[in-house]
Homo-oligomer: 233 residues x 2
DNA sequence: GAGTGGTCTAGACCACTAA
DNA sequence: TAGTGGTCTAGACCACTCG
């Protein structure tokens, strides 16, 4: 006997996981269809469906109508990262938070940024550079461009009080966005901002957000040495 | 009138998104309960539930029993990253793939690795260093420790033919794992492996996988300069 | 205690797609 | 064309938690 009753979708999922891990169902193999599993487990098909769909979302199963459900051979694992507001990320670690505005200007962005934000030629943007500090130490520096046509309200905001990161999150909802993680070699500018050595490897996040085809903002976050993002899989 | 009929959970989700983005429902605000929305949209409560649950998973709504559903004030955005097998990542970009085994030895790991994998003192591990190449160029180098007590089968494998990355994914299912992203400054070893300049900033992934409290493997992947991970949010 | 979301059920129909 | 997963429904009960 199984020992524990199978009555909810979590236990169905657990039982399916067990069969995958113990090789009862091998990679690439077809597993019984939802109706059969439902009758075996003594639950409704919808319950089995919920469990299998969840596992398919995590990449462990591959499902196709008519073809059935298979155990994935090369499971493409999915890692989910939380992207918090920087203030919360810092205070959440138990450090004090401080933000310093370094520069604020309204200028025409460099060509790579014009391309990325799909701006018109010679269209000006608000360019803001700021530094987030944890416990008085530089934590991450923020190099941001804001599309003033999409977000005209920015001119009424005092970004020496509140970082653009927070103001945008609270006030400008976005419909889509993209994010990239990479590494960068510290030049004189980065080293000066983060008070680290020249040539040090730094972690970088590039993020752009959009509101119905119009770029709201594009930002580069360069983190102080030692920063890491961690998650479970 | 809404124009489009609301009959399935996707359209319910879209309509809710619209109301959030257009500030009909403001951040922090309580939205109507599932039963009310169901009757407004003319669908079953389960359909509304599916839509709202999905939005709560993405961090846009906060739901609590009895307290109801609120629009998140500081939405903790979630980014989902695919972690493919390295061969597939490279061939998926249209490059040819090649793997070279650099070193394979059975030794006692350094103390930080003993701690991370929760090994017994003086317990030996299989230590494998290899290089994955794309289009003949170094792409990422893999520094891996494998727990031979949990995975005794590794001794029957020829890791000059198949990278441990692939072999483990195909043969050793894991029950949990963790992954971390960071940056590193290239030392002589890294620069030599990846044929890049000394002191260059490199992207790093550290990953460990577990099988019921026993560490299977712990690996550090150091990527060649220019590598980036990208995803939508 | 009462109101809310979380889930299960049994049945139904639909959408996709392999054969 | 037939078999599979995807989804909707109406109703029910439960679990949690706020007041």
């Amino acid at each position: 006997m199984t020992g524990t009753a199978i009555k909810n979708w979590q236990s169905v999922q657990q039982e399916v996981l067990n069969r995958i891990n113990s090789r009862v169902w091998k990679p690439g193999e077809l597993i019984p269809n939802e109706a059969e599993l439902a009758s075996e487990f003594g639950c409704a098909r919808a319950t089995v469906n919920r469990a299998l769909q969840n596992l398919a979302d995590s990449g462990l199963l591959e499902r196709r109508r008519k073809a059935g459900t298979r155990v994935a051979t090369h499971p493409v694992r999915k890692a989910t990262l939380d992207i918090p507001v920087i203030r919360n990320e810092i205070t959440g670690k138990g450090y004090s938070y401080r933000y310093a505005l370094i520069k604020s200007e309204t200028i025409v962005p460099p060509s790579d940024m014009v391309a990325r934000m799909r701006l018109k030629p010679n269209e000006k943007c608000l360019h803001i550079i700021g530094l987030h500090m944890a416990h008085g130490e530089p934590y991450v520096f923020e190099n941001r461009w804001i599309n003033i046509n999409v977000v005209p309200d920015v001119f009424g905001v005092d970004f020496s009080e509140q970082s653009p990161n927070e103001w945008l999150v609270e006030n400008i909802p976005f419909t889509s966005g993209d994010i990239a993680f990479s590494a960068l070699t510290a030049g004189t500018f980065e080293a000066g901002m983060l008070s680290c050595k020249l040539g040090e490897g730094l972690f970088v996040i590039d993020r752009s957000t959009w509101k119905h085809e119009g770029a709201i903002t594009s930002v580069r976050l360069v983190f102080a040495p030692g920063y890491r993002i961690h998650t479970e899989i």
